[in-house]
Assembly symmetry: C2
Homo-oligomer: 407 residues x 2
């Protein structure tokens, strides 16, 4: 099969009522797989993510651009009668509907699962919340950091003697969105077999457990709370393992070096390339246990070597020798790295108001598909397209909806 | 549709040559969706993850149990002629084949994409590597922490004045696995339409970008490397936002409080419940900008209140009032919380050698499916089942394979 630009989910229609990141990251992944994602937004400002992080309060934020690529935007005032009628028409044409409003909001709008299922029994109805329905916190509000606190991620992040920290990754949002994308895809596959829809729900708190499972394996083993390990691993016990400082000593001038415990091959390779081959066979370091016991000696030997090199040099030498190693790259180094552009991991788009911007794309390469990144839509940019295409509406009717403020 | 225990992917066959976590977390998610995942392992010890973290070197580690639930295990010596012939037979029956060996290994085994496609043109062939094929580090080895260093995650995690840290989450592994699961599901959907397979590849380094996109939006805006923000958010600028210490002052006795910038409702609710309603309308705090400018005063007011309460009490009061708030829960508190058990987020299994263990399950609820967690397989536990079912082998032939050491 030749790579096509329509994608694996070509023909799948998703009605997307989500905002900020947890929901939008999910539907964007599906759009990158080729689904037609129609973002339904209120005509007065749309998704709060459009302007919340905008420096001028007018131009769609980079934040919005990043999480809403390859989508269409249709405006609809859900609180008006005609708006509600319009969304119900769209629902009849959708394969998937997804929302991440605060608890209770979608039901109060008259668009709870029972109502939607009555209109379209085959629909896959997906909901992303902070805390689970039926749990003690089901009405609580949430954002990324709340999910990360509630789901154990913060308790295992930070220095061993320090307070909990939030990882820089927005795992509570995008991490949750990815798990919902998996479940929606499973339900779409199932629907192709059975024709039937279903309701999918995920809570950020619950989703975080999925990403903290190495720590849970530690707790299963020890019965104790998994502890913070700084630069290390919660299950600990390896040497060399960790960050080693590099030239010229900036805040991200480090390489991570990790030598496998399973055998001595990587250790011996490391000794060779750092110019210490005479230590091969030295009994202080010849088992994983001994290396860990003598880790201070190992670190004392490695640090002068790494300090004398840049992180790129150190990575090239150590990683090139078959020892797991990477520089700590920052976001500018990654964004500016031409390799990512060559491979399509970053792509340029021309956004109507932001101009040319370089966007992170879906990182999994699919030989059968090549969906290019398209800029996030302006508010209501696809009103005509979608109302015409999905509902067969005439231009006059669309104009009337606009005049009355429904779209 | 009534919930069924077979799952959305019932009938999908996955030949799983992965080990440790990045690959196994992916295939486990697919197993939890109902796919038949056959883990192909070398007869001498199997997946290195079985024993690498085992306390006695004999009993399958909790680590292995957590990432290999609901799978079958078949042994096969891939380095022997009969073993290679056997796996090729299995390949003819599989919908998906997935591997995460070190770069070049699968090709040296004679099971590269071209060979496999020649045997089964419809197969979805998935590969998880540390660094991308065609990139400068394509031959480099990787583990979770190497991916997190290489993909920007460590550069944005840690205290603002501290060194980079590794989040406790194994995002390099499970985070990558989830993205591959999404792409496999997309390809399975596409295959149902077209009958054709394809090759999927993902690099841990590239996958990390997907989870660092809030930081990339920051870099797009500022042109600078996104900085570490401790307990905060890389894009910063909010108050109150962060961890507040609680009684009795243990290492995880904190609540995270986040007051939305968009309006003053959450701020006013917070003032009410902490007994400071007289500050509603106080000009020092009436805009998001002012609150941030006067964040030290806000923190000084909040801290005594939180210190006088446990994290559970503080969460109940503040979160219950409609202000985003969560306790920092540790892994024991989460594992022991009966709510997760009631909702099936943790489930008990009876493992042949570990006995009864409580396992984290797939966190997305699907109304149409109810696949229970099943214990990870013992090495070779399903040799007979799978060889009989997939290949129609007679018992004598299976016994012969065993005698000659192929399985």
């Amino acid at each position: 099969m030749l790579a096509n630009d329509k994608g694996a989910l070509s023909g799948v229609r998703i009605l997307d009522l989500t905002q900020f990141e947890a929901g939008p990251s999910c539907t964007e992944a599906l759009a990158w797989l080729g689904a037609e994602v129609v973002k339904l937004e209120n005509p007065k400002g749309g998704d709060q993510g459009r302007l919340a992080a905008s420096e001028d309060g007018v131009t769609d934020a980079h934040y919005f651009l990043i999480f809403n690529a390859n989508k269409k935007s249709v405006t609809c005032d859900l609180k008006s009668g005609p708006g509600l009628a319009l969304v119900k028409q769209l629902i009849t044409k959708a394969d998937v509907m997804i929302e991440n409003f605060a608890p209770g909001v979608i039901e109060r709008l008259g668009l709870g699962y029972d109502e939607v299922k009555a209109i379209n029994p085959g629909i896959i109805y997906a909901q992303v919340k902070g805390f689970a329905e039926g749990g003690p916190y089901e009405k609580f509000l949430s954002f990324d950091m709340i999910g990360q606190a509630a789901g154990g991620i913060m308790s295992i992040t930070g220095e061993p003697d320090g307070r909990p920290l939030k990882p820089g990754t927005t795992l509570g949002d995008t991490g949750t969105g990815m798990l919902m994308a998996i479940s929606i895809l499973g339900a779409l596959y199932q629907k192709k077999e059975t024709g039937v829809g279903q309701r999918l729900t995920v809570a950020m708190q619950d989703a975080m457990l999925q990403y903290a499972r190495l720590a849970f394996s530690d707790t299963m083993k020890t019965g104790k709370p998994s502890a913070r390990a700084g630069e290390g691993v919660v299950t600990g016990g390896n040497a060399p393992m960790g960050l080693f400082p590099c030239k010229p000593g900036g805040s991200n001038d480090y390489v991570y070096i990790y030598v496998n415990r399973a055998n001595n091959r990587q250790w011996h390779r490391l000794l060779e390339v750092i110019g210490q081959p005479e230590l091969i066979g030295d009994q202080r370091f010849e088992t994983a246990r001994d290396r860990y016991a003598n880790k201070d000696e190992i670190n004392a030997m490695l640090i002068p070597w790494t300090r004398a090199r840049t992180k790129a040099e150190a990575m090239k030498i150590i990683g090139g020798a078959g020892v797991p190693c990477s520089a700590v790259y920052d976001t500018v180094e990654l964004q500016d790295n031409p390799d990512f552009e060559t491979r399509g991991i970053f792509q340029w788009v021309d956004h109507p108001t932001r101009g040319k911007v370089k966007m992170p794309a879906w990182p999994v390469q699919m030989s059968g598909n090549d969906v290019k990144v398209k800029p996030a839509p302006l508010l209501g940019q696809h009103n005509e397209d979608v109302l015409r295409d999905w509902l067969g509406m005439a231009d006059d009717d669309i104009a009337a909806l606009k005049t009355e403020g429904t779209v």
